[in-house]
Amino acid sequence: MPFIPHTTAEIQEMLGALGVDSIDQLFDEIPAALRHGRLDNVPTRMSEMDVSRLMRDRASLDRGGLCFLGAGAYEHHIPAAVWELATRGEFYSAYTPYQAEASQGTLQLLYEFQSMMTQLTGLDVSNASLYDGGSALAEAILMAVRANRKSKSKRILMPRTVHPLYRKVVHAIVKNQGITATELDYDRNGGHIDPASLPADPGDFAALVIPQPNFFGVLEEVDALTDWAHQHQALAIACVNPTSLALLKPPGSWGQHGADIACGEGQPLGIPLSSGGPYFGFLCCKQDYVRQMPGRIIGKTTDLDGKTGFVLTLQAREQHIRRSKATSNICTNQGLMTTAATIYMSLLGPAGLETVAANSHANTQLLKQKLTAIKGVTPMFNRPEFHETVFQLNGPAQDVIAQLAMQNILAGFNLADDYPELGHALLVCATETKTEQDIDQYAAALARALS
């Protein structure tokens, strides 16, 4: 859809109605000292033709290939019906509908999405989605700091097994609100946070983040970690892969009282990898904390005639009502991505999603078995995993990745930059989309690369 700006005549007409001479005058109340004035890092304008060419060139850099790369975004089979339905005109909007009487279809869909997410996470409430996994974790942390009435601390505990990019996003979003994250180191053998290694006197903190599975694909001891957080008057924030929840215990059942908040990246639920986005984040919580939740929430109600209807609810949390005191400046959701995810989940059903999760797990185990038979490849960790695993190689992972890329195989994620202490470490994922033949092809290519 082309963007159609106002004409000069229309702008003059509007300025005339306001009684001002120029658009600049509308910004007079911003003091000159606060204005940047120049946008040096923003390139000059480009024509539609040039932009199309640029985007095509960029897209061609991502050549696809046989994908064993996960690290936060996962290739799953997406039934053809998902995007055929999601891109119908009736659904084709990125935005939350304010006008309930004209938007019942979209509102009902978002309500169904929320219902599915609460079932997956075992929590009471879900919002209508956020931007992505990293920003969802940042919002979960902001929410936990506000909601924790037993602790006034603005410090949270962040395991190093949380996605490195999520940790960066969290830092960027929460630092100016005075919130700090203390990192917890992981067990070098297990690749997990060993509950026995947790400090006896951790000091005052508002929340503990618990990834499941963690960035290495390893399963954390979520029950012990959740209980430990609660023993120290802190909230437990689950950062989870939604596919894995079809097999694993839902966050709402972790430990004695369950995690308080669950968040994560929704991409595995029917969103293509598409060079890194757009994806969507999800956020669920216990009923007690719903008023601290950011973002849109859709509710089910009855109208004056007793008919079922769907509306935006609990809006007093949001910035168009609460202004600067709002729970978040998040004022939209990833409507289109959420539509696709809802259709994906409804087509697969609980049993289908469980099959996807189980087959992904089985393929990764098969991959692990075949790859560790290669000289120079050993498993890095000894704990149970979901659908991703770390290998120790006898040479730099980046060389292996480059060599396999030439054979059109995406070999995995190089951990050297984020976890230098692990040496030559490669993070690899095999979802349900991989056949034994694919895995054999990868193993053969890897064996050649390391020989």
């Binding site: 009435r149 008023r291 007093a316 949390r317 009502i321 609460r322 005191k325």
Partner: protein, 131 residues
């Protein structure tokens, strides 16, 4: 015309303050305020023991129309809150000066309450706003 009892103190931000015999203060929102806000759906109260300065927001009253902060009328420490309102926020509409009280506080300075508005002044303020 809303109900503005003579024996209470008031703020420009529509809180009322009652001086109790033991020197503590009871705080709520005025009949005028509850009327403007409409049906209450949720009340957020501070923790007992927390301290506030004059003008700090210390509670939130949320109605079907809006969510509004309640400002601490004088500096002091919260000694009790009306937790019954968490289940029955509508009591703030029904009985704003009685069972709809929000919190009790121990003032840092017993004299500070004298800086607040009297019923007559608040009546003028409310009448002005009504226009």
């Amino acid at each position: 015309m809303s109900n503005i009892p003579e024996d209470l103190y008031y703020t420009k931000t529509h809180e009322w303050v009652k001086q109790d015999a033991d020197g503590t203060l009871t705080v709520g929102i005025t009949d005028h305020a509850q009327h403007l806000l409409g049906d209450m759906v949720f009340i957020e109260l501070p923790d007992a023991g927390s301290a506030f300065n004059t003008g700090d927001d210390c509670a939130v009253v949320e109605s079907v129309k809006a969510a509004s902060d309640v400002y601490c009328p004088v500096s002091g420490e919260i000694i009790e809150t009306n937790v019954a309102l968490l289940e029955t926020p509508e009591v703030v509409n029904q009985d704003p000066y009685g069972d709809g009280w929000l919190l009790r506080l121990k003032p840092n300075d017993a004299g500070e309450v004298e800086d607040l508005l009297d019923a007559e002044t608040y009546k003028e303020l409310a009448a002005e706003e009504a226009h």
